[in-house]
Subunit: 341 residues, 2 copies
C-alpha cells in the first residue's frame, strides 16, 4: 500500500478513509484532522490559553503535542489519582513529555490535595470507581482552569470514546446527556469552554501518532476500569466497525448533524435549577455539590479510621453561578467513558 499523499510506502492504513500514509504524511494527516475539528466546532483561536487534561496516556499526550505544534498556547494538567501501580508511572510519562517538549505541567494530587484516592473516595461516596474518578477530574479541570486564568480546557476524547459515549447515552435515551455531548461546550459564568479536538481521530490513530512521534505513554488500561460499561460499548462498536469501516465516524458525525436537537429542552430545564455550591462555587441543584460531598464523605471515612485530616479544598472565589460539573454532572461533558485524559 502506498501513501495517499506522497506515494511513498505506507506505514499505516486508515480503513475508514480507505487510505494509507507514510510516517510523515500520517503526522500531517493527524494535524489536519485536529485543525479541522478545532475550526469546524469553533474550539479555540490562536492567542487563547488552553489547559490540556493530561493522563499520561496516548490520547492526551498526542493532543498536547498536536496543539503545541499547531501553535496553540497549551499547558498540561496532570491529576494524580492515587491508583497503586498505575498513577505513579502515568505521572512519570506526563512529566517526561513536558520536560522533553519544554511545556508547563500543572499538577494536582488527589490524596495530597483533597485527602482521598479514587478507591477510597468511591467507597466513601458509594459510587463505582469510574464515577468518582470522572467527577473528581471534571471538577478539578474546571477549577484549575479558573484559578490559572485559562480560556479553554481541552480533553483527549477521541472518536472511539465519543461514539461509545453516544451509544451509551442512546441505549438509555438520556436526553440531558445527549444534549451536552458536543465537541465544544461554551464557557459560562466564569467557567472555561470545554473542547475535544481529537474527535476526528480514532484511538488506533492517536496510538500510532505517539509511536511515530517517539512519545512514550502509559500503555496499560486503568486497572479500575476493567469490565465497565463504556468498554462494552466500545467492543460492540468495534465489531460493527470491523464489518463496515467508517460506521463509527458516520454514527458520530450523523449525530452532530442530525441529532443535535435531542434533549435541548431537558438540558435547559436542568440548567434553570442550578445554583452555586456554597463551598466551592460550582453549579449544583443540591445543597452541596457532588464533588464537595465526595470530599466531605471521604474525610469522614478517613477520620473514622483515626487518620489525620487532610487539606480542605479551597473555594473558587471568583466563580458565581457558573456552569461546570456538578451533582450527577449536568454541567459535565457526558455520562461515562472517562474524562478524556
Amino acid at each position: 500500500m502506498k501513501c495517499r499523499s506522497c506515494r511513498a510506502k505506507a506505514v499505516i492504513e486508515v480503513r475508514r478513509h480507505n487510505a494509507g500514509f507514510c510516517a510523515e504524511c500520517f503526522v500531517t494527516y493527524c494535524r489536519n484532522q485536529v485543525s479541522r475539528a478545532i475550526d469546524e466546532h469553533k474550539m479555540m483561536v490562536p492567542g487563547e490559553r488552553a489547559l490540556v487534561a493530561v493522563s499520561g496516556g496516548k490520547d492526551s499526550l498526542a493532543l498536547w503535542d498536536l496543539l503545541v505544534d499547531l501553535g496553540y498556547d497549551a499547558d498540561g494538567l496532570y491529576i494524580g489519582l492515587g491508583i497503586a501501580g498505575y498513577s505513579e508511572p502515568s505521572g512519570t510519562y506526563a512529566r517526561a513529555f513536558a520536560a522533553q517538549k519544554g511545556t508547563r505541567l500543572v499538577e494536582v494530587d488527589l490524596p495530597r490535595d483533597f485527602g482521598y484516592d479514587v478507591r477510597s473516595g468511591a467507597a466513601a461516596d458509594k459510587r463505582v470507581p469510574c464515577s468518582a474518578c470522572g467527577l473528581s477530574k471534571r471538577h478539578i479541570f474546571d477549577r484549575s482552569a479558573v484559578e490559572g486564568g485559562y480560556d479553554v480546557v481541552a480533553t483527549g476524547h477521541n472518536l472511539d470514546d465519543e461514539a461509545a459515549v453516544l451509544l451509551g447515552n442512546l441505549l438509555h435515551w438520556d436526553l440531558a446527556y445527549l444534549a451536552r455531548q458536543r465537541p465544544a461546550l461554551p464557557g459560562r459564568d466564569g467557567f472555561p469552554r470545554k473542547v475535544k479536538p481529537l474527535v476526528r481521530l480514532s484511538e488506533r490513530e492517536t496510538a500510532a501518532y505517539c509511536i511515530l512521534r517517539g512519545i512514550d505513554y502509559q500503555v496499560e488500561e486503568c486497572p479500575m476500569s476493567a469490565g465497565n460499561k463504556h468498554l462494552g460499548y466500545k467492543d460492540a462498536l468495534n465489531a460493527i466497525e470491523e464489518r463496515s469501516p467508517g460506521s463509527k465516524a458516520a454514527f458520530y458525525s450523523g449525530f452532530l448533524e442530525r441529532g443535535s436537537g435531542l434533549g435541548a429542552e431537558v438540558a435547559e430545564q436542568e440548567r434553570e435549577g442550578l445554583h452555586p455550591c456554597p463551598s466551592c462555587g460550582a453549579p449544583t441543584v443540591a445543597p452541596l455539590c457532588a464533588f464537595c460531598r465526595l470530599v466531605e464523605r471521604a474525610a469522614r471515612a478517613s477520620s473514622d479510621k483515626g487518620e489525620p485530616p487532610k487539606r480542605i479544598p479551597v473555594a473558587v472565589a471568583t466563580v458565581g453561578s457558573g456552569l461546570g460539573p456538578r451533582d450527577e454532572d449536568p454541567g459535565g461533558q457526558e455520562r461515562a467513558g472517562g474524562s478524556g485524559t
Copy 2:
C-alpha cells in the same frame, strides 16, 4: 429457580425481568406481553380482521398462535420466496400450523405470481437479496390486505429485531426511518394499519413459546441473510445485553418514550412528495414504484434468457394515493432487518 407466578419449578428464565416461569405461566406471560403491546399502542380491537405475515419461522407462528388464542380474527399470509432448500420447508411449516389450528392461510408465490425469486429479482434490480426480499414482502403484505379486506397487517418483529433496526437507524441517523419505526403505523388512504405485537418479547422467548406450545417451525436462518448488517447489529446488542440484562428493552422503550419526535419533519416532507404508482397504485415519488420496477426488470432479465413471460402483477384498483411501501420504502416500516415474518 421457581416460577414467579405459581412457585412451581421454572423451565425458563427471563433475565431482563429477573424472573423464571413454569411452562404454563410462561405461555400466560407471553399472552400478557402481546396483549399489553396491543393495548399500549392501540394496534387493533376485537372484531377487526388481521392478516398475519407468516414465514414459517418461530416469530410469525408464535404471533399467529397468540393472536388467535387472544380471540382475534387472524388469517395468515405466506409468501413463497423461491429460495432453494429454504422456502419449501418454510411453507410446509406454515401450512401444517394452519391445518392444525384450523385457520386460513393465504398464499402468494413470487416465482408463480410475479415471475421472479429473491435471487433473480435482486440480481435484475441490482439490490442485495435482503433488500429485494423486504421490498417484495412489504408490497405483497399491503396488497394482499387491501385485496382481502383486512383492517391490519401484523408482522412478527420481536424486541431483538426492533432494537437491532433501531441501532442501524441510529448508526446512520436516518431520520425518516427513525420517524417510521413505530410498533403501530396507522392505515392511510385505503392501506391497512401495520402492527408489531411481539415488540415486548425477545426472540429467545418466541422460540421457547413455540417449543412449549408444540409448534414446529423453520429453525434455519435464511441462507441469503448470512453476513447482513442487521445480524451484526443483533450480535452487538446481544453482547451488551449479556453484560446488562434489560439493555435492549430499555433502549427500545426509551426510544418510544423519549426519541419519538426524531425525524417527524423529514417524514412529513417525504410524504408530501408521494403519488400513486400508475401500475399498482402504491405510493411512490418515482414514475413507477420500486416494486413494479423490480418486477419489470426481473421480467426483462428473464426474457433476455429466452424464458417465457410470467403473469404480470395486477394493479390494486381500489387504491388511490395510499401510504404503503414504495420507492426505497418511505411508506414501509423500517430500513433493514427483515420483514418480521
